[in-house]
Subunit: 553 residues, 2 copies
Amino acid sequence: MHNDDSIRIIPLGGVGEIGKNMMVVEYRETIIIVDVGVMFPGEHLKGIDFIIPDFSYVIENKDKVKGIILTHGHEDHIGALPYLLREISAPIYGTRLTLGFAKNRLEEHSLPQDPVFHEIKPRERIEFEGIVAEFFSVFHSVADGVGIAFHTPFGIIVHSGDFKIDYTHVYDSLFDFYKLSEFGEKGVLLLMSDSTNSENEGYTQSEVSLNESLYKEISSATGKVLVATFASSTHRIQQIFDVSSRTGRKIAILGRSMEKNIELAKSLKYLVFDESMVIPADKVESYDSKEVVILTTGSQGEPMSALANISVGKHPLFNINENDTVIISASVIPGNEKAVSEIVNSLYRRGASVIYEGFREIHTSGHASQEELKLMMSITKPKYFLPIHGEFRHLINHSYIAKQIGINMSNVLIVKDGDVVKADDKGVSVEGNIPLSDVGIDGREVEGIESPHLSERQKLSEGGVVIIVIPISLEDSGILQPEIFSKGFVFSEDEDTLFEKAKDITFEAIRGCIRDGGQSKNQLKKAACDSLQKFIHKETKRTPVIVPIVIEV
Amino acid sequence: MHNDDSIRIIPLGGVGEIGKNMMVVEYRETIIIVDVGVMFPGEHLKGIDFIIPDFSYVIENKDKVKGIILTHGHEDHIGALPYLLREISAPIYGTRLTLGFAKNRLEEHSLPQDPVFHEIKPRERIEFEGIVAEFFSVFHSVADGVGIAFHTPFGIIVHSGDFKIDYTHVYDSLFDFYKLSEFGEKGVLLLMSDSTNSENEGYTQSEVSLNESLYKEISSATGKVLVATFASSTHRIQQIFDVSSRTGRKIAILGRSMEKNIELAKSLKYLVFDESMVIPADKVESYDSKEVVILTTGSQGEPMSALANISVGKHPLFNINENDTVIISASVIPGNEKAVSEIVNSLYRRGASVIYEGFREIHTSGHASQEELKLMMSITKPKYFLPIHGEFRHLINHSYIAKQIGINMSNVLIVKDGDVVKADDKGVSVEGNIPLSDVGIDGREVEGIESPHLSERQKLSEGGVVIIVIPISLEDSGILQPEIFSKGFVFSEDEDTLFEKAKDITFEAIRGCIRDGGQSKNQLKKAACDSLQKFIHKETKRTPVIVPIVIEV
């Protein structure tokens, strides 16, 4: 592919978008992959479960892939791993908890061969041909996160992972000031840094600052307390255990992903709590409601979550009433606002006290704000800067911060997924682009997002479908009276009348088509479709999807 | 209907939701309607243009309706007027600008009879049988807003309209402290007050405070400035004219609704600017880019707006480049976050400076925050309190504020649309409920929102549709080989193979059904549908909508 003596860095995801983080670091015959994440699609991609990066480039170069490094255990960094491992095979590097999450993720899939895991520790160095990867610990909302310093012939290339700087960390995962300043002292050629919160001024609030507010809310609660957060937010979960213990409450864990993650994190000692604190969810009713905290997911308004069911009084085990308190300890991911608001309304209707972001301090982000991003740049003193992990707006705002810090703007690279960033003796620059197409996972199928059926679904969702069946007699090539059916279209008294008229008009259009010499099925279908579409739009101002079916009988 | 001597207040919309505000105030043989608004639906109501209140109650009592009062000119207060005037006839009361907006809205509709308009001024009193409505001015994001005091035999009932308290108002529309305190002094039986921002602490920032920040942004801009805001935000538009004038820039107005509203507000003197400031949109390119401001809509990411087209370089008149500045002077309505974010990204990609909320101070809300809500309560000193205009969460939070103010909580009524609030000598209480169903406007049709076709559309949008046509021979009652068609379903190479198998399996299922004595079309359809659904789910893990069609040939 490329034979010149340079490092090639190719983001396959996560640059110009939030999610599906994946990056290729290539040098001569070596490719190292950093992260293999998924992205959850917006409303416009109907029925797609999630989106994964386009693996074509690494599949074409599969023999060069020497390792897959996972920076931390979030879905947008590890979620697409099972799909990649169907195509290529390489050892997987990650910290203990990150590998634990990855193994859980892989369990649900059958793979062509058993994956090989290499557990790494911060400050450990892994030698690949020509490149050494050195890990440094960073703080993030999930424990055991790392960034990576690639020691290359052309200088040090730093990948921040996802991070914030939390001086009063709740558990381990210190931000490794020493290592990063050492890199800075030696000379960092290129810094690639997390842009997610680059629009936020100041500092991101410390995780520990929530301890007192959670204590205040839980200790003053007069009944059951239900706390909803992400199943992967290990630090938050630790705090909820700590505060529950301090207030003398037991904890019931609700939901498969919450149970599974807590079990994993506890077994690996990333969560520390007394086993006697945990009570089975179906025993909650036998405790005094003031002695119980229920820990669950559903903070994004997921319609099938326990929280959603509880909010409408349809959970088999719990009822929420006017003595109870619900704490939603998470921020709302853009696109989920309406769903979360509906749950908040329903909980209020049941009389519960509801505590959520913007209202009380019960959540803080896991990503660095502007002042922390400045610190990262100031400590590593990079010659070149490449903002990663963010939409275009976040990358641009991160570049403004670099400018404030005094980084030469001609050394700031704003790239998009697929751009090839070349680093060598002469510096760092963008050289060309690999065309990518998003890949959607929908049920079992892996398919291109651009496929026409997705825009068809969009149209179906807006106007429903009208089906016209046109029977042709094989014997005399005569046309029989068409039949019309619909789904998701009008539902009013005059639908029958409308369709009767439509049948006549379409029948006439088909006969006209035949009179004018139309013979093929496609000509008949087009004539039927056009006349029906026009008629329906005239009568109803709507544009359903029309399916003309010609059937030989 | 009701013969006892009491006032009945029935919110038909806007209580327990944001939007479609409408309220009935009834006394003996008199009904006064306050506002007739629309609501824009969420993503779950596919293809519905907007939702209007259920008019059944006022249609049943149409002879009693003596007047329709409009508090201000926003769509969620006047938008459903054309649909109501198809059904009932009554004089319409409103201030000059509000009636101007209402007339514009009605223009597009043909009505059974010409509506009668009564222009009112703040402090004017309109006598209805047994009730006097007195108007007081309030400040809101559109000019000429009013609240209403109903003088009734049982005391004064105050309806706040939509309001904020802005000491440094940009134009007219003072908050009428005197009138409200006079009502308080005389004794307010019931206050009904705007809850939209009841979750916001402190005060809502003054509209005038934006003047300096808009000036700062526009005066420092090096090229064209494009400002996007709501076409109805007259105060904001005035400020944009003022700042443009101060910076020596001309204004081009882009978009039909913006043009129409500015023309109206200027002709009624609610906007004051020198005509020579306005240049035609198609002449912008002949001016130095530093001399131009383009004023347009599209702040909510509407895909057909000029702003959306400009952001992707597809506008016939303008290109945005790296010298230009785009100011989005509006907050994002929940549900529109993704669309707005996409436009911001696209504008950044074109190199423009983009200025939006959360980032710079270029927008402020038109609704009162907690301290202003306290002021409203403190000045009117109501005996009973009914929070209106908000989702349940906002009503509840508004009731907490009432508690802080010292209002007796047993005198706070949290109601929902359709609840009947009765006020008489004994006080105010909820007595029963009128069942309501939302009405959706979809093309020309007015229909119930609960109709099954909307949930069908949802299903269609998630999995597409698979149609199976089963021909039955009328001659020998034999079944012919079925045909399968699809829209928005799989699109991969093995779709044909899948459908070939599906045909065989369904054919077999139908024959089995007949062998077991199944004869009716419905039995055949059910057998076909069940077997096809099961097969498709097994093979693809998906659940498209299945349409079985039995056709006699």
